[in-house]
Symmetry: C2
Subunit: 162 residues, 2 copies
DNA sequence: GTTGAAATCGTATCTGC
DNA sequence: GCAGATACGATTTCAAC
């Protein structure tokens, strides 16, 4: 769980990650079949990927509507006073509606991605963000999500002999 | 795995989702301890959450740098010809560098989030996007990611008696 | 990396609450 | 709908190769 060294991943490692990307609850047995190694070997690989920080965790993909957060939006934020110390990400971290926070190049300083229950909730959240971080905001509402959370390491087109 | 009904989730369901958000590879035994129910009950709940489409899958969180994609960017896209049929999300789906695609309210039609190896790769990807979907693009580079993939259902502050 | 044996876990099923 | 219990196959784990 430390920092990721620039040590390259071989085909087995990427195969394990690709298989996990399809189903992170897959058993070692299933992963072993996918990559063509023994269970123990896969287990060792997986432990190593985790301890090297290549894989930092496992999360379920949850339907936003089912958990009552059907409204998603991008919020760009810019400091009101460019002279003030800027620790917006830290200040905003307690707001659990914020799913992601990146600093960006461009007019704004940060890009947030948020999920809320309703327009009313979005208004409240934007107010909280403005107040907590002393920023102005520019909000872009997501009308429809075609896809998201796509795997960083796509499955190989066709593993030979499978 | 069908569509999500507006049937509300109770505290146990959200507890299971919260526990899985911390570790989606957790065993039923571990989940049962977390939510204070029997294994059989948790198993039934989990199956139901999956079949109802509340939980649609499980994915590993992978360090982008470790898999050779340290550069992330937001790309807004707008149609060159507003008269043409617009199926950009479909046309762009084969581009695996695209992690997310939303239609948005605002000047642009869609917001993409992409990950690539280098500025050179980003340039190539933007070209592909323009050509494939007949769009113009506006790219905002992510300089730093403070957090992302935060859980939709945060863990309860302190489960009583645990 | 592999094999194999022991401990743990997932699953199915049943009884009773 | 849940707890508890049984039973069996699957899975994880780890020591030895």
């Amino acid at each position: 769980m430390v920092d990721a060294k620039p040590e390259p991943l071989d085909a087995v490692d990427t195969g394990i990650i690709a298989a996990l990307s399809l189903d992170a609850r897959a058993t070692l047995t299933q992963l072993a079949e996918q990559v063509g190694l023994s269970i123990s070997a896969v287990q060792a690989r997986l432990r190593r990927l985790e301890s090297r920080g290549v894989i930092t965790g496992y999360r379920p993909t949850v339907d936003p509507e089912a958990v009552g957060k059907p409204l998603a939006a991008f919020i760009e934020i810019s400091p009101l006073d460019p002279a003030q110390p800027d620790n917006a990400p830290e200040l905003l971290e307690p707001l659990s509606e914020i799913e992601a926070c990146h600093s960006i190049a461009g007019e704004a300083s940060y890009m947030l991605f948020v999920r809320v229950a309703s327009p009313r909730e979005l208004e409240r959240l934007i107010g909280q963000i403005r107040q907590a971080a002393s920023v102005r905001t520019r909000t872009t509402i997501a009308l429809q999500t075609f896809y998201e959370y796509r795997p960083l390491v796509p499955a190989a087109s066709t593993p030979p002999g499978l």
